[in-house]
């Protein structure tokens, strides 16, 4: 019961994040959806870590957090520089590589 409950919660949160990426246009909101998916994966990691009674799963979640921090820094820098050149944060208008 306990692992199943946590995994179901993690699935719901992951799906909300994934649907955000599919549906929303504001690139900052899309980025928050990606963060939410990483958090859902962390929750699953911790549930499994407790199921097996070791800390390797916690370490995996820790490294996910570190990589997420690095990813957020670079991603937001890209969004800021895109906003400076194109004056928009909508993912529809960022078609610089199309032509």
């Amino acid at each position: 019961m306990s692992v199943t409950a946590y995994l179901l919660l993690a699935s719901v949160i992951f799906v909300i994040g994934a649907t955000t990426v599919l549906v929303r246009r504001n690139s900052i909101v899309v980025f928050m959806g990606i963060e939410l998916m990483l958090n859902a994966a962390n929750l699953a990691f911790l549930a499994f870590a407790r199921m097996w009674g070791n800390v390797e799963g916690q370490l995996a979640a820790f490294f996910v957090m570190v990589v997420a921090a690095a990813e957020v820094v670079v991603g937001l820098a890209i969004i800021v520089s895109l906003f400076r050149t194109r004056r928009t944060v909508s993912v529809d208008d960022e078609n610089l590589l199309r032509h």
């Binding site: 019961m1 939410l36 490294f63 890209i78």
Partner: protein
């Protein structure tokens, strides 16, 4: 932890915090304002931190609050302010029906994931509660022995990411900086306003920033309201403001006294 069942305290924690996290996360789908979305996601992150502590890893719960709520979401809000909060999500679909297709894909993913979780059986929960008192110590001893190299690599990653952010947001100045006299001369040449714009609010009746000032002839000075409020269309009109200003517009010179 007694095998497959949750303890009562854990059940209470899960059924209170779990719905709150899902509610906070669902703002990502339904909220139109990006800042509100960021605040709701912060609630989700704090709720997840509670769940992490409940799962016997208080170290990661604290790290979650510090890194996600304290650093990452603050960075999101900072960038939202930098980009401008008036930039709202456009609801014009460039691909027809893309919103519904996305929602259907999300539902399908939920069904697949939940089905896989529901149909699989798990072993008895061994639990790390015994070591929960020294959870940080257990994590540290593993982190600095078996995963020491990984830790160093992630350190490199953080430094590279910080350098990359600095380089990405840095702009090389292509033109000479404009000095104050040059700016003034340009304004005079183009016939623009030389003085600072008048302060918002009129005649001490209203001092809110979204109320425009009134010039002596009774007309509204649009430039007195901050430009971000004008962009968002949050300027108060005189009609919406007060009736007496409309009936009795302030005029310059001595006013006639009504009997």
């Amino acid at each position: 932890m007694n095998g497959l069942e949750m303890s009562t305290a854990e059940q209470v924690l899960f059924w209170i915090v779990g719905p709150i996290t899902v509610l906070g996360a669902s703002a990502l789908l339904f909220s139109k304002r990006a800042v509100l979305t960021a605040c709701s996601v912060m609630v989700t992150m704090v709720g997840l931190a509670f769940l992490y502590v409940g799962l016997g890893s208080p170290f990661l719960g604290v790290v979650q609050v510090v890194v996600y709520t304290g650093a990452i979401m603050m960075l999101f809000v900072f960038v939202l302010m930098l980009v401008g909060v008036d930039v709202s999500d456009s609801f014009v679909e460039t691909i027809r029906g893309q919103r519904w297709i996305g929602a259907i894909f999300g539902l399908g993913l939920l069904v697949v994931l939940a089905g896989a979780v529901y149909r699989s059986t798990f072993t008895f929960v061994i639990g790390g509660e015994g070591a929960a008192g020294d959870n940080a110590g257990a994590v540290a001893s593993l982190l600095f022995s078996d995963f020491a190299f990984t830790l160093e690599v992630t350190g490199c990653l953080l430094i590279v990411a910080a350098m990359g952010a600095v380089i990405l947001t840095h702009r090389v100045r292509l033109t000479k900086p404009v000095t104050q006299p040059q700016l003034m001369a340009g304004r005079t040449k183009r016939g623009l306003r030389l003085t600072p714009p008048p302060a918002p609010g009129n005649y001490a009746r209203h001092n809110a920033a979204d109320v425009p000032a009134i010039d002596p002839s009774g007309r509204v000075i649009e430039a007195s309201v901050p430009s971000s409020l004008r962009l968002r269309g949050q300027v108060h009109t005189l009609r919406g403001l007060s009736q007496d200003l409309l009936e009795d517009p302030p005029a310059c010179g001595p006013k006639e006294v009504k009997p």
